[in-house]
Assembly symmetry: C3
Homo-oligomer: 159 residues x 3
Amino acid sequence: RSGEMAKLTQLIDNEVFRAYATYTTIVLLKMMLMSLITVYFRITRKAFVNPEDTASFGKGESAKKYLRTDTDVERVRRGHLNDLENIVPFLGIGLLYALSGPELYTALLHFRIFAGARIAHTFAYLIPLPQPGRGLSWAVGYAVTISMAYKVLKTVLYL
Amino acid sequence: RSGEMAKLTQLIDNEVFRAYATYTTIVLLKMMLMSLITVYFRITRKAFVNPEDTASFGKGESAKKYLRTDTDVERVRRGHLNDLENIVPFLGIGLLYALSGPELYTALLHFRIFAGARIAHTFAYLIPLPQPGRGLSWAVGYAVTISMAYKVLKTVLYL
Amino acid sequence: RSGEMAKLTQLIDNEVFRAYATYTTIVLLKMMLMSLITVYFRITRKAFVNPEDTASFGKGESAKKYLRTDTDVERVRRGHLNDLENIVPFLGIGLLYALSGPELYTALLHFRIFAGARIAHTFAYLIPLPQPGRGLSWAVGYAVTISMAYKVLKTVLYL
């Protein structure tokens, strides 16, 4: 058992893998924050989708009026879905990239730019910033993921 | 080759990693179940979204009436999306947590509570239970993931 | 450091793991392609959802008419969400399966069929093909993931 543990510890002690673990945790926590922001807007805008969520506002018609969509809530939800669409590929391709033996400097560059781009994307979506603010931040994160995918396929390709 | 295989086997023989593998597979299978429930409600409620899915009901207006939203279908789809939003962070942060050398007892506690909370969340959403049933089950899974993220960042932080 | 690197390299040199890395990268890239197709349809169909995205079309009512849903855009978005719902389980369960020591031949069969099924699903959704084209391609990918989950649980079960 302690021999196996030692091996696992070695994996987590690798600097590239530690960097991957750090930035992946950061972007996943950022994505999770979208849930809290959605809840915040649903409560402050009184805009719910499930009848059972409005039960505390009374019964019948008085509660039914809170079953509605709100532009702020929908905006946060779109940002959340965009996170899922982009952070899931980073999670998978980034892990394989970290295991493909990149230079520490290059790997850090990829991880830092991706995390920065996704944080910028959230600000651009929620403020909202005029375009191409949101579009550019999305494209940068996308390009970083493509770059990592290229390295993975070049290193491991086995069809 | 057999040397490499031995090493891989050692990873999967580690008890914490085996627990992670077990509970991750369980919650992912639970999430996949949402697809089947959606299909079941679409067929029994006759509520479809793609015109090609209603072709067996005839042509023209007779089939067009089945292109509609149904509250039960939409409820399952919201539960499915909520699974994606919460199980993706568990998948990534949980893997890094399992590799960060936690005590077996602590790790099992995290994994079991998370899996239990997500299964409870599905029942709370689909029955549906009155609030705060669904809210609490969501919050418990969320808190477990935050706790694992804290351990990961404390162990590996490399910015 | 070089000792750790050697160990990581061994993981990525394992043939089953290399096959997993290759096919996972391919299906994640395919999923990312859905973002580009969505952007393409949003621009060619002039159908946007965020007011800031239509600013280049002028102000007031002249731009507001482009804030609308379009059937082609919605179709791509449904395909994208279906990818998320099915590729996320493959990402997680496939990784654990690759680490559970399957035969190379069996593993390749699983990965190839899954990737083929998801690519077929995208064509079936976007052309669109008559049913059961899309339904079958979805079911094949689903069944492959269940088969891998069964192998994982049989190998590692630790509750």
